[in-house]
């Protein structure tokens, strides 16, 4: 089967083939020669299948192997020399004719089409006929007296039958082996042919069985009998195969070959698609010719062609749609950037007017949003601040946001009050507002000289205000309707006076409605806690602290709403102030200091505590140190509240300063409580007996005991009408 084998004629493989075929031939011939002898020089020879078939598969080595096997058998059977030599030559011819003719016509030796099966049949027939005549001629020259014609026909039939039965299956076995080495199997058509061939052989075997069962007779009749039986079998096979070939031909045209080709085309289409572009033209080319086929194959071919064309169209459309979407996304991103740029960012320059400090931030969710903040100077002593949230998100909200911001600012600049601004802007926004867009607004005008804040709230979140260091609280102001909802709505304003150090914090609902992974919202409580827990003194830090807290809360969850915040600290008309909790004159030898002045009430303990927390944190005090100091401070403060001002309220001043340690010692913090109340030395109280059992213990004196034992040093003096209590503790 392999052309190149002829070039390297003597290879290991060819020698192996030669030896094996020779042995095989010999082994099969001898028994039959003994037991199935028909005529003096011939017998039932299944081995006759080997020459043509093995020759087709292995070419010359097999042919020679068989010929030599035959030679050895002849010698051992005692034939004369001339007969042996002639016999050898005949065998060579017999074995080589088939593969030489097949090679001439080209193509692999494979029984996968009706045409190939037909080719095999007539080659085998011709080969058998030629051999039969040659053998008879040999016998004639040897002086053999047997019936010349009968012998020839028997030989022909013998060769034909065995080649068409055993022979075909030997060929198929070798083809199967070769295919499986390549990872393939019989094609659809091949399998169909195999079925017919099996049936042909089956019927031949049946015929042989019944025929031989009838045999009775002697030697002389034997030749005629075998000949007749053979003839019957041969005709049976011949007719069966020929008729089968017609059926196979029909199937080839309409079923099996089209299916094979369609399957191949489909496979190639898919693998082309995987690596790059699916090629529908290739499909049409290869499947198109089968559209006319009768039956399922035709339908399938048509379907493949349609499908591949449709897929192509679909891919085209999808590519166009994706490109379009990307274009829109790019434009939206650009729009968002423009929107963000519109909001004022010049915080430092703005805040250089030392009467106040301001900072704002806006975090947009993915799309363009509708939140905004604004701040601007109205005149020498007035500023305006605004925070707003347009309903919905996306491009419509963004456009509405731009309009609202512009109207609000331009009205404010004319000097109108917030109530007037909101009323007028509302009407402006209602014009032509068919889409029922609306916006919530909180805006205020601050008089820097007096600290008077005039504000209006159009459906927006309550502002959060920290007044007099009492901590951040929700300021439940009066809520009017949203802006842009209904024409001719009247909006009112309200006033409050800010003192220096007061902080105004406004935000949008994206802040309070930020959700974590479990669907819980951040909420106003957490916001207040974050604001109160932050020791920040600058608006920027306040906002950063809140954003960090929200980030921690939200974690990995996706934000879906804009978050906007604005914080403003009013510092008062002068650049310095002596009131407020950060500008005290540092005492000598102190590194840092802070002072808090407030009314001596129990409610204010909260503010004192926060002050201490922040200052001690800044000083780098250890947790233990902080707790000790705070507990002692609480006792002292409580005493002042209870005893210093019995009749009316009074103030207490708390100053905190950090000091370096003496020599190599650790640094310490000093806190001084000063009040103008009745002279009272808390340290003069007797220490309680702490060894008493519960029933006999009282709660008196406990505080003082704790003060003494928790901090390093405590000292009382009455100076100039003031109670001065000093306490010192290491910071570590």
């Amino acid at each position: 089967m392999d052309e190149s084998e002829n070039k390297a004629f003597i290879t290991g493989r060819s020698i192996a083939v030669f030896l094996i075929t020779g042995l095989l031939f010999f082994a099969v011939t001898m028994p039959f020669r003994h037991f199935f002898h028909v005529v003096s020089m011939t017998e039932l020879r299944p081995a006759s299948a080997f020459n043509p078939v093995l020759g087709l598969i292995f070419n010359w080595p097999a042919v020679l192997g068989c010929a030599f096997g035959n030679l050895v058998a002849d010698i051992m059977s005692g034939y004369d020399t001339v007969s042996c030599i002639l016999g050898f030559l005949v065998q060579v011819v017999y074995g080589s004719v088939p593969f030489l003719i097949w090679r001439r016509f080209g193509g692999d030796v494979r029984l996968n089409t009706a045409a190939n099966v037909w080719r095999y049949m007539w080659i085998v027939s011709v080969d058998s006929a030629v051999t039969a005549l040659l053998v008879s001629a040999v016998m004639h020259t040897a002086g053999n007296d047997a019936d010349y014609l009968m012998t020839a026909s028997m030989i022909f039939l013998n060769n034909f039958v065995f080649s068409m039965t055993i022979g075909i299956f030997i060929v198929l076995a070798f083809i199967r082996k070769t295919l499986s080495r390549k990872g393939e199997t019989f094609s659809l058509n091949e399998r169909l042919i195999l079925i017919f061939l099996i049936m042909a052989v089956f019927s031949a075997v049946m015929m042989a069985w019944t025929a031989f069962g009838d045999y009775s007779g002697d030697d002389t009749e034997r030749l005629y009998f075998v000949d007749r039986v053979y003839a019957h079998i041969a005709i049976d096979i011949l007719l069966f195969c020929l008729i089968s070939l017609f059926f196979v031909r029909y199937a080839e045209r309409n079923i099996t070959i089209p299916m094979e080709k369609l399957a191949e085309a489909a496979e190639d289409y898919i693998s082309a698609g995987r690596s790059g572009e699916p090629d529908y033209k290739m499909v049409i080319e290869r499947c198109g010719r089968y559209i006319g086929s009768y039956g399922e194959a035709g339908k399938l071919a048509e379907v493949f062609c349609d499908m591949s064309v449709n897929l192509e169209k679909y891919i085209d459309n999808l590519t166009k749609a994706t490109a379009e979407k990307e274009r829109i996304d790019t434009e939206l991103n650009l729009a968002r950037e423009i929107q963000v740029d519109m909001l004022p960012h010049n915080f430092p320059e703005f805040s250089m007017r030392s009467a106040f400090e301001i900072y704002a931030s806006m975090d947009t969710a993915k799309e363009v949003g509708g939140d905004f903040y604004d701040f601007y100077i109205i005149d020498d002593s007035h500023i305006g601040i605004t925070i707003a949230d347009v309903a919905d998100k996306g491009v419509p909200a963004a456009l509405f946001m731009i309009m609202s911001k512009t109207y609000l600012k331009s009205r404010a600049l004319t000097g109108e009050t917030p109530g007037e601004i909101l009323t007028n802007v509302n009407n402006q926004l209602c014009e032509g507002n068919d889409k029922q867009m609306f916006v919530t607004v909180w805006m205020a005008v601050l008089d820097l000289a007096t600290g008077k804040l005039t504000a209006g709230n159009a459906g927006h979140e309550y502002p959060i205000i920290s007044k007099n260091n009492k901590g951040f609280r929700l300021y439940k102001d009066r809520h009017d309707f949203v802006l842009g909802g209904m024409e001719d709505t009247e909006y009112k304003e309200y006033e409050m006076i800010l003192s220096p150090g007061d902080v105004v914090f406004v935000y949008t609902d994206g802040v309070t409605e930020a959700t974590d992974g479990k669907g819980e919202m951040y909420g106003t409580e957490r916001l207040l806690q974050a604001l109160n827990g932050s020791c920040a003194e600058a608006p920027e830090k306040i906002i950063t602290d809140v954003r960090d807290d929200i980030s921690r809360f939200v974690g990995e969850a996706v934000r879906y709403d804009d978050m906007t915040m604005l914080a403003m600290i009013y510092k008062g008309p002068g650049a310095e102030s002596t009131i407020g909790h950060r500008e005290a004159e540092p005492p000598p030898k102190a590194i840092e200091a802070g002072t808090l002045i407030l009314e001596a009430t129990m409610e204010n303990w909260d503010a004192v505590m926060r002050f201490l927390e922040c200052e001690l944190q800044k000083a780098g005090c250890s947790a233990r140190g902080k707790t000790s100091i705070e507990i002692a401070a609480e006792e002292i403060y409580t005493n002042i509240v209870k005893y210093a001002y019995p009749d009316d309220a009074g103030t207490v001043t708390i100053s905190l300063s950090l000091h370096e340690g003496t020599g190599d010692g650790p640094g310490y913090v000093r806190i001084v409580f000063t009040d103008e109340g009745i002279p009272y030395d808390p340290l003069s109280r007797e220490a309680p007996d702490i060894t008493l059992p519960a029933e006999e213990r009282t709660s008196g004196g406990l505080g003082i005991h704790m003060i003494r034992n928790m901090v390093d040093r405590v000292h009382y003096e009455y100076i100039d009408g003031h109670n001065v209590l000093t306490m010192e503790n290491k910071t570590l």
Partner: protein
Amino acid sequence: MEIHKEQSGNELVIKVEGRLDTLSAPGLEAELKRSLGETENLIFDFGSLEYISSAGLRVMLAAQKAMNKQGKMIVKNVNESVHEIFEITGFVDILTIE
């Protein structure tokens, strides 16, 4: 400060979170007044208590005196600084601390 309470039968577990100071102690006092009733086994869980001042101690003392009459009281999961306060004030001998 936050108070979580769990009542099962005649056992009352009170978990106090945060700070027990002069402002929040009245809240604990009111809660005890409401829930103590006939409880025989009062347990304070101070696992999340950061801070206690004399105001808080007063409430603890009152509770201990009350429980001495009707059952027993345990304080558990006390942190280092709170424990120190109990030591300084001699409360370690009055309270049952686990």
